[in-house]
Assembly symmetry: C2
């Protein structure tokens, strides 16, 4: 038995013993409706920050620093709306230990019983081995997991194997306002010693096998604005006699992507890094199939049937989605309007080695060209309204190796190495600002329904997840 095994054995036993307290901790956290997107609930987001502060104090933090981020910038209803603070804290400052920054967020998505929840979303219910409640898996479960780990160490009198720096934010579900700036400001101050970052804010690919995540797609979001008349017009009076912006827009939007998801903008696919043999081999053992995709999508509308094609197109090839149109009629029923100004929204998921600026140029030029071909007198612009870069890590570095050992120890199975089709922009910020490796170590399963009704975290994922996070710290701390 290695020395780590000797350590982990009583630690895991303690975690099992404390299970009722850990569930109570998550129950207390879920009970605070810290919905960051609902201005009326902003006091609850602050209450959640206070809750964390108290928990951290009880666990014996060396330092707790509450970073006030000031007033939330527009658009807001309340011009004096305060941003939830970022809760920082430190456990340990041994210069001989590694320092790991642990990020999590304490705000949640909105939830109303009327949305279709089987029970009150802010009352954690344990049913059929699932802890059901808003925030259970996103991201209060994982955040409590870290606190649970500290409690277990404390009760055992077990020294932490690394120095820990916590960074908990309260605006993740609302654009992480202020976080990037804070990270940059504190990079050489509060975060000075940080050499590694661990984030538990994503999910297993499926429901059976734990995963470690080493890549994320980026996202460039564009809008095409077409303006014709000075105001919305009646289609009875103006239909057939003026150039309608919707006709132009639908025409241009129809030329961006084909029915099989192929991006039709020349030059885009050419920027994508070729698939190497080593990369291709990573897909072989991953547990996934088309049925899982269809189940998750709730339809049999998959473009690809093979596991490898699906995952590659989700993770390492770009995609283009048409999201909708602002300014057009969007209600139920019939409205005979000619919308005066319509704004088509679409985004492209980006992957290595796409150059974001080059992509913008290709997209904007293509749209301009397609519009020009229409010879419409309406006013046309295409613009980038948001971008976030892709991220890919080396899945064989120290962090991933330690996380692999921890996962095997707890779950008895080698984790799948996954990427995600979506983006977690903060990953890149940490990597860039702190010069640290980032590990994504998810706790919940692929069917947790993070932003949906009846969000849940399986009880074993919560408890074994707490063990996995704990073991990770020990394996990583032991890394030479």
């Amino acid at each position: 038995m290695s020395s780590i095994d000797t350590t982990l054995s009583p630690l895991f036993a303690k975690i099992d013993e404390l299970k009722p307290q850990f569930i109570q901790r998550l129950t207390d956290a879920v009970a605070i409706p810290s919905v960051s997107s609902d201005e009326t609930l902003r006091p609850k987001v602050f209450a959640m920050a206070d809750f964390l502060k108290e928990e951290l104090a009880k666990l014996g933090a060396d330092d707790i620093t509450i970073k006030d981020l000031g007033i939330q910038p527009p658009p807001v209803s309340d011009p004096e709306l305060p941003l939830p603070p970022i809760v920082l804290s430190k456990f340990g400052s041994d210069p001989n230990k590694k320092t790991v920054l642990i990020y999590g967020h304490y705000d949640v998505q909105p939830a109303l019983l009327e949305d279709g929840w089987a029970s009150d979303p802010f009352t954690l219910v344990e049913k059929d081995g699932k802890l059901i409640g808003r925030g259970s898996t996103d991201d209060k479960g994982p955040v409590m997991g870290w606190l649970n780990s500290l409690q277990a160490h404390k009760e055992l009198g077990l020294e932490l194997p690394v120095n820990i720096v916590f960074c908990f934010e309260g605006m993740e579900e609302s654009g992480s306002i202020g976080l990037d700036t804070l990270i940059a400001q504190e990079a050489k101050k509060y975060f000075k010693e940080v050499e590694s970052v661990c984030i538990s804010d994503n999910y297993w690919l499926g429901t059976k096998k734990p995963v470690l995540t080493y890549g994320l797609r980026g996202c460039n979001y564009y809008q095409i604005s077409i303006k014709g008349p000075g105001a919305d017009l009646h289609s009875g009076i103006f239909g057939g006699v003026i150039h309608e912006p919707m006709t132009d827009l639908v025409n241009v939007m129809s030329k961006l992507v084909d029915i099989n998801g192929n991006i039709l903008i020349p030059g885009v696919n050419e920027m994508v890094a070729p698939v190497t043999e080593k990369e291709a081999s990573l897909y072989k053992d991953i547990e996934f199939d088309v049925d899982e995709l269809n189940l998750a999508a709730g339809s049999n509308t998959a473009i690809y049937q093979s596991k490898k094609d699906i995952l590659m197109h989700r993770w390492r090839f770009p995609s283009l989605s048409l999201h909708g149109i602002e300014g057009a009629f969007s209600g139920a029923g019939a409205k005979t309007v000619i919308p005066a100004k319509v704004v088509g929204k679409f985004s492209i998921r980006t992957v290595p080695d796409m150059d974001s600026k080059k992509l913008d140029e290709l997209v904007i030029n293509f749209c301009n060209e397609k519009f020009k071909e229409l010879k419409s007198p309406n006013q046309f612009t295409t613009e980038l309204i948001h971008d976030g870069a892709y991220w890919v890590s080396d899945p064989f570095n120290n962090e991933f190796t330690a996380a692999k050992l921890a996962t095997e120890k707890v779950w008895g199975v080698e984790p799948d190495l996954t990427r995600e089709g979506g983006s977690i922009p903060i990953t890149l910020t940490f990597e860039k600002e702190l010069g640290a490796n980032v590990l994504l170590l998810p706790m919940g399963k692929g069917d947790d329904g993070a932003h949906s009704i009846n969000e849940k975290l399986n009880t074993p994922n919560y408890i074994e997840g707490t063990k996995t996070l704990s073991a990770y710290l020990h394996y990583f701390g032991a890394t030479k």
Copy 2:
């Protein structure tokens, strides 16, 4: 001097004399916010019905019948919401006189000061010769015009030249629920003697010359529904791996109409009646030009430059407008959603001799065919959700001839004979159910802004309009 001239001279003088009272009457009517689409204002719609009832009683109606229409069918918030009544009344029952049904509506469009009104929308303000307020021109001004005419007759002790049957409804701005049924029910009862219908609920083509309106386009409204996944999905996770309904929809919608307003569905244009020489000649003297269109549209985006082309494409050729998409992202900013179900809305304005059923068949088959070409696994349907037929009258019949004389008498100019691009479905119902000729005799100008902010009725249009309505009754009553 003809006997009609002898009659009209003192009548017009009386109308001029009563101008302050007439403006007060409109002020009182506008002060009641009878917004039929706002359930919370339903009591005000009833208050407006009471107002009319009292006015009609004061004017000595022979009969006032308030037709209760029961409870408003869903969708409504209040399942017990009563429909506003239809206010019927009769003045005169001389079997030697013609009987004219006069239709108007006493409900109005919503209006809030915050929408951008220069003054409170429900306080009639006279400024620069304009009576500004919600409902001033649509349709309280014309309705008060008829009451004004009766008051002038009464004060002069002047016998009405025709029997009058009033039919005032309170749901015109909300789909005229219950009116069709009532007209059918009363066709052989309350409306038995009616041989002619006059509606003053549209507008001059422009701002300088009065018009009589002899045609309306119909409207067939369609929706294309495309359903893919079971719920809205995240474009990061599903982008590139499933068939997205929006891609299908935009593709199909882009094939319906070209940038110059040409309908691309084979067989549709072939149903349109050819332009006859006589019809073409009617356009010659109409006062209108492309600048007027561009001014009204608030842009220089006219498809046609000649008066005749513009008016023909507004009045006697079909048009297809894309109104919007239900179910897609329609807000401001960026949302990375793959909408699960999207519903594209479009309508076709119909004209003689288009067959409505045949049109539905052409449209639905064409959409099905275009979707089939895509080979998408998503679920697709196209359906008609609303239709209203076109209407064309003989602009040289007794009604139009009398209205032409009345207009010339009051305005000193021959009215333009116009059609409208939009529809007034009730026109057809009256024609069909009562077997009566319908005359559209507008009071307000083309720039009144009926459904917009700062709706107005020019004071001369109100007063000379009251004279025109009065004169019409006399000329029509004198018709052999």
